[in-house]
């Protein structure tokens, strides 16, 4: 066997046999500039692409133990950030392109094979490539493209190829990543002893600390200690994170069959994934079944029919306590570090009124969620003549979700094995069924013609999309047995049934014109008109133009003479896109809503309560985001070093914001298009690939950053402490707080501080040594909230915002002989985190322990250099730990997202087994991170630190997997 290879060409192998002269033609590898990129309603060669479009090919998803394709996107594309929402099996992250476009949220429009779809439901193995339209090139999608567009194309069979069978499988072990740690019993007891003002009843004395340190098994039955009367006193530390959170696993199997003949191709893809969650008790799993059948048929020479039918089924079974009611993550965190798991009789032990999370998982009832997603996508393309092509596409997608939620009562047992209370009463069983029917009909024509040096292209089309959502649910309560709780076994008394539904429709017309001269100067313009059912008929239509210009500098004679650039391209683009995420489906109609609750009149009469639900403003309309982009693409050194740089501006000039009105209005006013948001940023992408002998390797790095600012808004700009949604002149979700000035160390400092704030009651009477000091920025002697730090307007300054900054990704790849190695590191350079709600201070409430983070950091007379004020349980603690420069954390992190080492067995070996290819690999996900986030908080958490947000949510996991790829 002779192997012929050369950089830039496909490696070719040929058996020599007995020949003495061999003629070989090497085919050129696809250069970066020749890559075909999917843009709206068509494709274009990267060489001619005028917009900022990044592509991701199938390799990003192959052999990665991620169930949701969106998770695999992290760090692959500069400007695309993926924010994870907790690690529950089956959860979906939030995607964001180039920061936000509006305070009302909005996410990129995801189109799978031309119609809107859900990345979380798609089998990652089916993805051929993805295009991310980041700038004005998305304008062709008009009304919902303000946050960018992600075009996903699925794999298809190839013509004239025999049946190819591929099988992929992996097994992953999941271990919990970062866990929020509560203070251990010793730490909690020590911190409690620091409280010197009597506000916390003493639980453990100084002498008893020794017992805790030793891990004593002593139990004082039914004592009175601290605030607990009649409960046993324990002295041993229990690590509840350890007791409840264990390991899970993820398995995946995929079978693909594809092939084709002269006039047809086919592809069948079958997949199954099953994931087990982390809790050690109860159940938590997620199963997926994927089936896809694709075929292209040439009905006549000019008429081609594409058929794409896919069905994704998912089934999640989980203990209800994982997400219903007071969820177990909150319970695990708050369960006292002295409470043992079981009482001496072996039952789950409940300390006082706090549910035992293990009991909640095991005995709290089970819920199941079954969903199915059927997509029927067919397309007919008609090549009218060599220049004109007509495409018609009809997509119908039906999604249904059937959930059953069973919540059981818990019988709580105390240390003496007495059932002292029944928790989570009444028990209930609920069935919920929701369905969505989505339809998309598109028709467009594409005309291309060349006249000498001039190339012209015209595309015109129309589309109509609609979605119809319906949900109904039924619930019965007070079951007298908990063995089996289907609806029909419950009592009809106090049963509840309700329903909900909404629908929307969008009609669109779109067009695009391209002109290129001498293949060097290209210009393109597009226009889309969208009419949406969400608006009053007079304000229904929006128009979204776009344009871009490209100069292929590398084709210029003067550049060619340099013999330096393999390719060099300058481009600029402009586009207007719409965002309707702040608008409900019927906002222009004044509605009456019936409250879910009732008011009880005599005889158990349930009085329904009706009230006006919204104030209407007919002139509310789309937010329009104007995106401008300039960029440069280059490749040099024989296409080995390549990269691109982009700088962009996004302006949302009619952002829907809530303007505060005087309370006399009596109702929430509708948001009006009276805000302006400006976003700007840059992206940098550089790659190097080379081959040295048998070693081929590549390095690709990307770095991006974006900043947003509310430039203008009508109405009063009342800036409050804490999170401000749209403060003028600052980014969205900006935090404001006081300036921390240290801790009062002695009586003299206390007197001086009191002199600083003569008009502030609390400082004069309650604040003492060990408490926080703040600056009086406006000099009025009062610690006042209103204002933003500008002279005379209050005592607060801008503390930061939660947007991640300086996102970077580093992709490393190397292949040598049969081995391949891939590593992917991702991180951010800066982000502001402020702990809020229950996480904001030690001893937020006296009935559960603080975060371990605070241990040893609080002021005591022996530890005067501590960064945080003394612990207390009086209201003073809200003052001490208020939003300020002291409670703001600036975090950065770098995470080894993926590490893969694989080995492809030599062809000689595999062919003996009748296999075309056999590869085995080890792949790890989220293996390791370097970060400076306080106390166990994961730096990737979505940033909502208030009660119920990511403060207590399903932990993220690390994945260690082994897998194999087989091609027959």
């Amino acid at each position: 066997m002779l192997v012929f290879s050369s950089l830039g060409y496909n490696t070719h192998e040929e058996a020599i046999g007995s020949r003495t002269a061999i003629h070989v033609i090497l085919r050129g590898e696809v250069r970066q500039m020749d890559e075909v990129v999917a843009v709206g309603y068509g494709t274009v060669k990267r060489a001619n692409l005028g917009g900022a479009v990044s592509t991701i090919d199938a390799r990003a998803f192959e052999s990665r133990p991620v169930r949701n394709a969106a998770n695999a996107l992290q760090g692959q594309v500069p400007g695309l950030t993926v924010v994870r929402n907790g690690g529950a099996p089956g959860s979906s992250p939030v995607l964001r392109i180039r920061d936000v476009s509006s305070v009302n949220g909005g996410s990129p429009l995801v189109l799978i094979d031309g119609a809107e779809g859900d990345l979380g439901l798609l089998n990652p193995a089916d993805i051929e490539n993805m295009s991310v339209l980041k700038d004005g090139t998305a304008a062709i999608y008009g009304a919902r493209a303000a946050d960018g567009v992600i075009l996903v194309t699925t794999k298809k069979g190839q013509k004239n190829k025999g049946l190819g069978v591929s099988f992929d499988s992996y097994y992953s072990l999941k271990t919990p990543a970062l866990l929020k740690k509560a203070a251990s019993l010793y730490e909690h007891a020590e911190m409690a002893l620091e409280i010197s003002d009597g506000s916390f009843p003493i639980e453990y004395t100084q002498e008893e600390l020794q017992l805790i340190l030793e891990g004593s098994d002593r139990v004082d039955p039914t004592s009175n200690w601290g605030r607990w009367t009649g409960y046993p006193k324990f002295y041993k530390n229990q690590d509840w994170n350890d007791l409840i959170i264990g390991n899970g696993n993820l398995q995946n199997y995929h079978l693909g069959l594809s092939g084709g003949g002269d006039r047809y191709t086919y592809l069948i893809s079958l997949g199954h994934t099953r994931e087990e969650g982390l809790p050690k008790f109860g159940i938590d799993n997620d199963k997926r079944y994927y089936a896809r059948a694709k075929s292209t048929i040439d009905i006549t020479k000019n008429l081609q029919y594409d058929f794409n039918l896919s069905y994704e089924a998912n089934n999640r079974n989980y203990s209800s306590g994982i997400s219903e009611g007071q969820n177990i993550w909150e319970l695990t965190y708050k369960t006292r570090s002295w409470a043992p798991l079981r009482n001496p009789a072996g039952r789950f032990y409940t300390f006082e009124g706090f549910d035992n999370p293990a009991q909640v998982l095991e005995e709290g009832g089970e819920s199941a969620l079954t969903g199915g997603n059927l997509t029927f996508n067919n397309q007919l393309s008609y090549q009218v003549n060599k220049d004109l092509n007509l495409v018609g596409r009809a997509v119908v997608r039906k999604n249904d979700v059937d959930s059953s939620i069973v919540r059981k009562m818990l019988y709580s047992y105390n240390w003496d094995n007495v059932n002292h209370r029944t928790a989570r009463s009444p028990n209930s069983s609920e069935r919920r069924y929701a369905k969505t029917l989505y339809k998309n009909f598109t028709l467009y024509g594409d005309y291309k013609k060349s006249f000498g040096q001039h190339d012209i292209g015209v595309m015109v089309g129309a589309a109509s999309e609609s979605a119809n959502y319906d949900m109904f649910s039924a619930k019965r309560i007070n079951y007298d047995q908990q063995e089996s709780m289907p609806l029909n076994l419950g009592s009809a008394q106090d049963q509840l049934a309700t329903g909900q539904g909404n629908a929307w429709t969008i009609h669109s017309f779109f067009s695009r014109v391209n002109y290129a001269f001498a293949n060097k100067y290209l210009i393109e313009g597009s226009l889309r008109a969208d009419g949406s059912s969400r608006f009053d008929p007079d304000y229904r239509w929006g128009y979204f133009p776009g344009a871009n210009v490209t100069w292929r500098v590398a084709e210029e004679a003067f550049i060619k003479k340099l013999h330096f650039f393999d390719d060099l391209k300058l481009r600029a683009s402009y586009g207007e896109m719409g965002n309707q995420s702040g608008i409900g489906p019927y906002d222009y109609i004044e509605l009456i809503s019936l409250n879910e609750d009732y008011y009880p009149f005599g005889d158990g009469q349930r009085g329904q309560m009706a009230t006006q639900s919204n104030l209407v403003s007919k002139s509310r309309t789309w937010e329009t985001v104007i995106a401008k982009n300039i960029g440069m693409d280059f490749s040099i050194l024989r296409d080995r070093l390549y990269g691109s740089i982009d700088y962009f501006w996004k302006n949302n000039n009619n952002m829907l914001i809530a303007i505060p009105y005087p309370s006399a209005l009596g109702i929430q006013a509708p948001t009006t298009n009276s805000g302006k948001l400006a976003v700007h940023g840059w992206e940098l992408n550089i790659g190097w690939r080379d081959q040295v002998g048998e070693l081929s390797y590549s390095v690709r790095a990307n770095l991006s950053d974006a900043k947003n600012k509310v430039t203008e808004r009508i109405g009063n700009n009342l800036i409050h402490k804490g999170n401000n949604l749209t403060p003028t002149g600052y980014p969205l979700n900006s935090y404001f707080g006081y300036v921390f000035d240290g801790i009062i160390q002695n009586d003299q400092e206390l007197a001086d501080y009191r002199a600083r704030f003569p008009n502030e009651g609390m400082i004069q009477t309650q604040v003492g040594v060990g408490d926080a000091k703040y600056l009086d920025l406006d000099g009025d002697g009062k610690l006042s909230e209103l204002g933003d730090g500008t002279a005379g307007s209050g005592d607060m300054i801008y503390l930061g915002d939660t947007n991640p900054r300086y996102n970077f990704g580093l992709n490393l790849f190397a292949a040598y002989k049969g081995f391949d190695f891939t590593a992917f590191i991702q991180g951010i350079g800066r982000r502001t985190i402020i702990l809020e709600g229950e996480a904001s201070k030690p001893f937020f409430y006296p009935w559960f322990q603080s975060a371990e983070y605070w241990y040893g950091k609080t002021w005591t007379p022996e530890r005067t250099d501590a960064p945080y004020p003394a612990i207390t349980l009086t209201d003073k603690r809200n003052y001490n730990y208020d939003y300020s420069t002291n409670t703001t954390h600036s975090v950065a992190y770098a995470r080894l997202k993926n590490l893969q080492i694989g080995y492809t067995f030599p062809k000689k070996l595999t062919q003996r087994m009748k296999l075309e290819k056999l590869r085995v690999y080890f792949s790890g996900e989220d293996l390791f991170e370097v970060h400076n986030t306080p106390g166990g908080w994961d730096p990737e958490d979505s940033g909502n630190y208030q009660n119920g947000g990511s403060y207590t949510s399903y932990p993220f996991a690390r994945f260690y997997s082994l897998g194999l790829n087989l091609i027959f």
Binding site: L388, N502, Y586, D597, M609, L665, G666, G761
Partner: protein, 560 residues
């Protein structure tokens, strides 16, 4: 080219057909639009039902669930109350301000829609009257806190001028409320006319009782703060309204639980009693609350010495400080409860008592940290539910207006207007309260007052304070009598600690230094941290956010 042309034309035709086959004018699928509502009496009833859900209840919902009377001198919760001791600062926002305007809008919407009602106005007349009652009631709630407030009588939009209107003087607001209540009363049914399924709806008695309450407030504020000169006329309105309620014989004091009637009135047995005139209703699985457990935990405040000392001695009917009263002193815990007005031991939970709480039978000990927790040493029993139920599953109603208050209004208004009160009126009012089953205190009359050198006004006010303790009246009473400046600066004291059984039993919680005053009483909030600046602290400030949005609300209340 022709065959292309025809094919292109077909394509365009398909395009147009396809685009139009999906309707773009959509109607809401699961909600009524405003134009589909307001068609019949049941629609108006549903809209009126909404108004009941924001009425006052056990806790001050708009003040972060602060328990009632913590802002006065008769109650103390787990920490010093900044409103009680005058150290509070002007807030940026205040839910008690903003939520009332939402109520005004809902009331005005019903009234506005009734004017364009297509059917027979008589069908909806009652619900419109309820809306007017609630409009007046909510203006009352706003007025008693902020004094000068805007009067809103129409549904406002973002373009309305009234959004940026001024605050109307208290005089105008009072007159508005009183006239509205009088009008509404004429259209509302009597309590006895209600069907059993309508129990809880507003009645004529409720409108008149509220009118009496507002008129008394206005009249006494006028007499002592002189914001208007016609206080006698206001007190007359109070007397008149109260008399009409009494003479209607629609209500009477609750005595259904024998000797426990006073205490049981406030919990489960007191639901649907003849004493409730306007209740905030709760029912199993429909609307429930958590006060049964919370009072047991000690989170609804505990009484202070001020309240404890107010109860008269039962045998003599004299205050404890009078000679020969029969007061037994403080040496033993049970001593100060001996031979006192029975309402004392039905409001306070005396250590040693066997009682029922929401977990079952229990026994009270004196220790501060044993539930019910206390900081003053006195434990609260009033409002503690006895039915065993889960933490959030208590179902007893809250009496917003009850008959006892009407009697007290008549007595106080009569005295304030005439400077004297006849024994006949006393027998109609105070002495009816004193003869409730289980209370049975000696009667109050002019002879008794003169013989013992007491002051009738003090005695009337005393009766009011102990009858309505922990029902949220105390601070407003001190404000309108212009007594707050002397009473609220006094230190808040608890049990007598030094040299008593409390000290022997070592009842204090860890970390409590046990500061006592010169007489050995536990100091809970010392005088040097209690402030009252007159006239500033008689008023609440309009929240700063509101002023920033509407500067016409200025000037703020005096001193703010």
């Amino acid at each position: 080219m022709n065959r292309y042309l025809s094919r292109i034309l077909i394509a365009i035709a398909l395009l147009l057909v396809m685009v139009n086959c999906q309707d773009i004018n959509l109607r809401p699928k699961d909600n009524l639009s405003d134009s589909q509502f307001w068609k019949g009496p049941s629609d108006f009833m549903k809209a009126a039902n909404q108004l009941y859900s924001t009425a006052e209840t056990f806790l001050l919902v708009d003040r972060e669930n602060e328990p009632r009377d913590m802002d006065s001198d008769i109650g103390y919760n787990q920490a010093a109350n900044t409103i009680s001791n005058g150290t509070w600062s002007a807030p940026t926002s205040d839910a008690e301000w903003s939520n009332r305007f939402a109520d005004f809008r809902n009331c005005n919407k019903i009234i506005e829609k009734s004017e364009s009602y297509a059917g027979d106005p008589a069908e909806i007349e009652r619900y419109v009257a309820e809306a007017r009652f609630f409009r007046a009631y909510n203006h009352w709630r706003l007025m008693k806190k902020f004094n000068d407030i805007p009067i809103i009588t129409s549904v406002l939009s973002t373009e309305s001028e009234e959004l940026y209107g001024k605050r109307q003087p208290q005089t105008a607001v009072e007159d508005f409320i009183l006239s509205e209540l009088e009008e509404a009363a004429s259209k509302l049914p009597k309590q006895s006319e209600l069907q059993s399924s309508e129990l809880g709806r507003i009645t004529q008695g409720a409108a008149l009782a509220l009118k009496a309450r507002v008129a008394l407030f206005a009249g006494t504020w006028a007499k002592y703060h002189q914001h208007r000169s016609d206080y006698a006329q206001l007190l007359d309105q109070a007397i008149d309204a109260a008399k009409r309620v009494i003479d209607s014989h629609e209500y009477q004091l609750y005595e259904g639980a024998g000797n426990e009637s006073y205490r049981q009135l406030f919990i489960d047995k007191g639901d649907d009693s003849p004493e409730g005139i306007f209740d905030s209703r709760y029912a199993k699985n429909i609307r429930m609350h958590s006060n049964a457990h919370s009072v047991y935990w000690g989170w609804r405040g505990t009484p202070t010495k001020k309240l404890a000392d107010m109860y008269l001695c039962k045998g003599t009917g004299l205050p404890i400080e009078a000679t020969g009263s029969g007061f037994q002193g403080y040496a033993k815990i049970a001593d100060e409860f001996k031979d006192r007005d029975p309402r004392m031991s039905q409001t306070f939970l005396m250590p040693g008592t066997k009682y029922l709480n929401a977990n079952g039978p229990d026994s009270c000990v004196a220790k501060f940290t044993v539930r019910p927790e206390t900081r003053t040493g006195y434990k609260l029993w009033k409002f503690m539910g006895e039915t065993v139920a889960g933490v959030d599953d208590a179902t007893y109603d809250y009496h917003i207006i009850r008959y006892a208050e009407v009697l007290l209004i008549l007595a106080e208004a009569t005295f304030e207007k005439d400077g004297a009160i006849s024994d006949a009126v006393l027998d109609q009012t105070i002495n009816v309260l004193r003869s409730r089953k289980g209370v049975e205190m000696p009667a109050l009359n002019n002879t008794f007052v003169n013989a013992h050198g007491l002051d009738m006004l003090t005695e009337i006010r005393r009766e009011r304070t102990i009858e309505l303790a922990f029902e949220g009246f105390r601070r407003d009473d001190l404000r309108r009598w212009k007594k707050a400046e002397t009473e609220l600066v006094k230190p808040l004291l608890g049990i007598k600690y030094k040299g008593t059984q409390y000290e022997q039993l070592n009842v204090l919680n860890d970390g409590n230094p046990g500061h006592v005053d010169a007489n050995g009483f536990l100091i809970v909030d010392p005088a040097n941290v209690r402030f009252f600046t007159a006239p500033k602290h008689y008023y609440f400030p309009v929240p700063l956010d509101e002023i920033a949005l509407n500067s016409n609300l200025l000037p703020n209340n005096p001193g703010w």
